[in-house]
Amino acid sequence: MFSRKQSANDSVSENMANKQKRYEALVNALHSDIFRYAYWLVKDKAVAEDIVQETFLRAWKSLDSLKDEKAAKSWLITILRRENARRFERKQFDLVDMDDVALADDGLSNETEIEHRELRKLMANLSDEYREPLMLQIVFGYTGDEIAAQLELNKNTVMTRLFRARNQLKEALEKADDSRGYQNG
């Protein structure tokens, strides 16, 4: 009886070790992109980190349901989006107004930093429905079809939103340049 239990334990721990390996591979390969995507969803690093923690924890718990590692990315994004939605169910967060928030300082050189900061502010101010497909494209390199599948939208809608997102960013940047020009001049 003991020996049987022992061997069952062995195969259990072998399964666990495999699962552990898969999980660690997943974390190492995707945590950065998932974190950045989370950041652009919630626009707050601490909250993003919380959501990423929850996301990976859930991923670990249901790792057995992930049959194909190639699907891992979209699987994690789905979990992340659900976690984010759950956060809103739990409590209505204060919507962060980017103008009031000091954005992450990444210690880049001054000029690039200023440019980045400005662009980030503009990106953060895009409406969610524009920002989300844009970030799927930028962060994960998703195609229009993949974004449509992930967000359960029609592809035309996705392409329109992507167009509007960049269009708004470009116009806003030009406007900012102009006003800086006035100030400097």
């Binding site: 999980y23 652009w40 440019e115 980045h116 930028i138 962060v139 992507l162 960049r166 470009k170």
Partner: protein, 237 residues
Amino acid sequence: MDDLQFRRTIYADPHCADDEVKLAASDDPKKQQFWNEIKQLDAKISQASKVSVPDDLAHKLILRQSLESQKSQTRHSKIYLAIAASVIFTFGLSFSIWQQQNVTYLGEYALAHVQHEGDGYALKANGDISLETVNAQLASLGAEFKQSLGRIYYANFCNFGNIRSYHLVMEDINGERVTVFVVPHSGDYKVEENFANERMSGQMFDVNRASVIIVGDKANALGEMKYRLKQNMLFSA
């Protein structure tokens, strides 16, 4: 491809590899220039999107998971422990109930024994058994009579609730017949000093390794008999 269509396509996907788009760009330098601008913008967006990731995030994610799986393992072992405990508890409970049911109520049993015999053999026996015979048999239960207490009508081993006991029918001081059992201690038993039913009553006393039970008609002076037995029987330790 008209200009608006071209712009929409490029805005939506600056890295578009569509032949029609490429052709339109190569035909029109303005379109190509616009494309380049948007590619530049996209490179900037891409750079800006790369917010710094907390250094130890990967480590934290792995650590948190291993804590969690440890916790769930402890949870499992707690569940197993609880199941084991409840099985043992149930077993223990039913065992003690079973044991209690197994307690021999000597008095009740003696009454039942005599009553079952009714006007049977033992009480009607008319023997006059010698003290030597009785003592020889009682010796195997570690008991003996120091002296005769009167006529012994009947004496033999009997089965007292699966305990090999000794069954006597003796004459008391009033000349009435009294049944006396010598029952060696075995397992759980319960001594009731006095006991009775509608027809008979009984008394008993305990010595170190046996109980002596006296059963007779209610009217009989059982107390007296008990006293005399106590005085005149010897029991080996």
